[in-house]
């Protein structure tokens, strides 16, 4: 079973923080990741969908059912959602097998054991969570959430307490299980790699407001805002000042885009290189912080104003050297929505 989730004009206010208004539609069987810095309201939004928080306005529909709105609050157990919590949130007094048979009353012992085997937890069936590793506990958390066959699966930073080596296998398991069941999945994370590994669509949140919503490929390849580029791709956002029909940045003057509003000159990794000669156009000077070797040369970290710019070079340079940088292509001028402006 797979259900659509529709969030319309949702908002709530908690202790000085305002979430929304938000409009998000998640099609059935889609995997959506909600990303944003800490305090942007990702987990609060997820908890609204689960039913742990009451909304102040707007509505949430899961499938055809209205589950939350003004004066409507459906009990979490009746919403048909499963949730994987940050640190597992397992029941420490129950064995792995008891977790599944309790969470899914219709699931027989044999089916529960088969599910545990499938997730590589067959040997842990009779163990309690305190005797499991972080990765095993998180797998069990995932199985517990999926065992009753929810229409929507909610994941709250599921890889946070898992070490690097176990992440890949957990990601694979997650994709397999949700793919087979075609379960609609909503993931919350502030880790770009985690989001890209698990999701088809991304929603970028900042200070409780929606910044961008689109497919993962589109947002990564063509971010529409400087904030998305900075948060998702680690881009440097240099100051850009409008001067009539032109925009002035540390790299020089460029034609201004038609859209009004604040702009930033966004530098993605690979957008700049060390200038071969001092006569090149569109150059600026930056201070080298460090040059670290990699398989094909050196990765340079350079300070440009208060931003850090990354580029590659074929040889090492001493720290604190002033380096002349040149643009590799056209200037990427994107609208800037500062957190304050978003609120």
């Amino acid at each position: 079973m797979s259900l659509q989730v529709r969030i319309q004009a949702l908002h709530l206010r908690r202790a000085g923080f305002t979430l929304g208004p938000l409009d998000i539609e998640v099609a059935a069987s889609t995997r959506l990741a909600i990303v944003g810095p800490s305090g942007s309201g990702k987990t609060t939004l997820l908890r609204c969908v689960a039913g742990f928080e009451r909304v102040d306005g707007g509505s949430i529909r899961i499938g055809e059912q209205l589950v939350a709105a003004d004066r409507v609050h459906l009990d979490p157990a009746l919403r048909g959602v499963g949730m994987v919590f940050q640190d597992g949130a397992l029941w420490t007094h129950m064995t792995a097998l008891q977790h599944l048979t309790f969470a899914a009353p219709g699931l027989g012992k044999a089916a529960a054991l088969a599910l545990l085997e499938r997730a590589g937890l067959g040997a842990q069936a009779h163990k309690k969570p305190p005797r499991m590793s972080g990765g095993e506990a998180q797998r069990l958390g995932l199985l517990r959430a999926l065992a009753p066959g929810p229409g929507v699966l909610l994941l709250d930073e599921p890889l946070r307490s898992v070490d690097v080596h176990q992440r890949d296998s957990l990601v694979t398991l997650l994709r397999e299980l949700t793919g087979e069941r075609r379960t609609t999945t909503i993931l919350v994370t502030h880790d770009r790699d985690e989001a890209l590994a698990l999701a088809d669509e991304l929603v970028v949140l900042c200070a409780g407001k929606l910044v961008e919503h689109g497919t993962a490929a589109a947002l990564v390849q063509r971010p529409r805002t400087a904030f998305t580029a900075a948060f998702l791709l680690g881009a440097a956002c240099l100051p850009a000042r409008r001067d009539g029909a032109a925009v002035v940045t540390p790299f020089g003057s460029f034609p201004a885009p038609a859209e009004p509003g604040d702009l930033r000159h966004v530098l993605l990794p690979g957008d700049v290189a060390v200038a071969a000669d001092s006569t090149a156009n569109a150059t600026t000077t930056a201070r080298l912080i460090a040059a670290t070797p990699d398989a094909t040369g050196f990765h340079l970290r350079l300070a440009l104003g208060d931003q850090v710019v990354h580029c590659r070079h074929d040889r090492a340079l001493p720290a604190d050297t002033m380096v002349r940088l040149v643009l590799n292509g056209p200037a990427r001028l994107l609208p800037w929505q500062a957190p304050a402006a978003l609120t």
Binding site: F52, V72, D75, D87, A89, H93, M94, A103
Partner: protein, 536 residues
Amino acid sequence: MIRSGHRLCWSRWPLWLALAFLFAFVLAPLALLAVGTVQGPDGFTLDAWRELAHDENALQQLRASLALGLAATTISLLCGGGHAWLTLHRGVPGAVWLAPLGVAPLAVPPIFIAMGLADVSDTTGFWPCAWLLGVAHAPFVAVLAARGLRAIDGRAFESALLLRGGARAELWLLRAILPELLAGCLLAFLFTVADHGVPEFLTVKGKTWHTYAEGIFSRWTRRAVGTTFAELQSPLVAALPYVAGLGCLLYAALRLRAAAPDRGVLRPLPVRPLGKLRWPALLLPLGYLGFGLALPVVVLARWVLGSAQKLEPMSLQFAQQSYQKAVSEGVPDLLHSIVLAAGVAVLVLLLALPLARASARRWPWLELLVAIPLALPAILLGIGLVRTYSDHFLLRWCGDFYDTWGFAACGYAARFVPFAALTLAAHVRRLPIAAEEAGALVPRSATVRALRLHVRPLAASSWAAGVLVFVLALRELDLAVLLPAANATAVRRLANAVHFQHEDWSGVIALMILSIAVLVPLLPAILAGRKLSSLD
């Protein structure tokens, strides 16, 4: 339209029942006592309160209580705090065995220690009383100090050790566990100044000086000779501001305890051996346990053998006679006591579970309300219960309930419910909320969820709290003096019997009470073959 399924139905009615119980057996009696002090025969009057302000006798008793409380608390701090520090951190010889015993004096009724002291020495008066109550209440400090020491991350202590040296690191440690130590001291102070039985026992046998709790009781027993409204109400007028003061102390103790969070220990506190000082240091735990545990046991055993009858030499034959007399004279009372204590423990747990969940998850203020009986001297709670429920109207309404064991059990439960509710609330706070939220998504009935996910994780704490209440109910003397059905408990009979020179069989009963009080907490460890964890 709010559709919340049946999620809350399980938790609502036990909570409302528990709150109704608190109202009926704690708040209502207290409120009636308070109203009675200003509701004279001719309407509202403050005569009794005005008189108290000029009562030099009451002020003197108050000063005596304060001095006794401070002296006894200092002794509790030295004995309890010292015991925890030496056994858990400084590795005195035999620490593995001595540490779990630190809580054992709590199983010994203070009146037994008083009886032991009176038997081996003629010393009576202020200092013996302070010493005795200090030792009897030292387990509060020991347990909380141990909790504080266990919550210290060993690496933080090692950092202090590297940076500032041994003495400064120990001072750092003292500061780190200060909230727990202060909370333990405040509890010890509270119990000392609220105690009526021990000061009364020692002042009857020795010099005449009186504490405030004693003064309240003696006024109460003599109130019939008073003629004016002020004279009749004086015991209650004296008691109420006293209780308000104790309530403030209790609030401070609870805040301090809550302010000492579980710090998530990654490495336990290291043991720093004392070197050559380890043998002299052993004197403190041995002295503490010797006075609080061994002295009463030895004296009671000597009574059984005939020491109180001045038999020389004492004999096993006499012990046999003592045992036979105990079986005929005291065992029925002991059985009553055991049944009453077990019933009280069950009742308290049924009340404490919903109260603990509500105070830990929804209404923090409820914790203070639940803790009120801790601030009430038991003797005052007893007076309140007697005055409220011996009222003609209520007697007609409740039938014979006032004279039954059920009423005694309710009175005891009202007194001891804070112990269980506070223990369980502390445990509920340690359980992750997310695990409960995960349970809220499970398609099961609310009752099943409550039993499997809320009650089951508290099983170990419930057992510990139940055992504590059982032991406290078994040794309760102050309430037993006042509640009619509880007059026939073993401890009450014991206190009477000792006055009438029946030490022989009283000793047997007292030893039986002690054995039960010590063995019941150990049962799970014995049955499961588990090692005792220290000072739990």
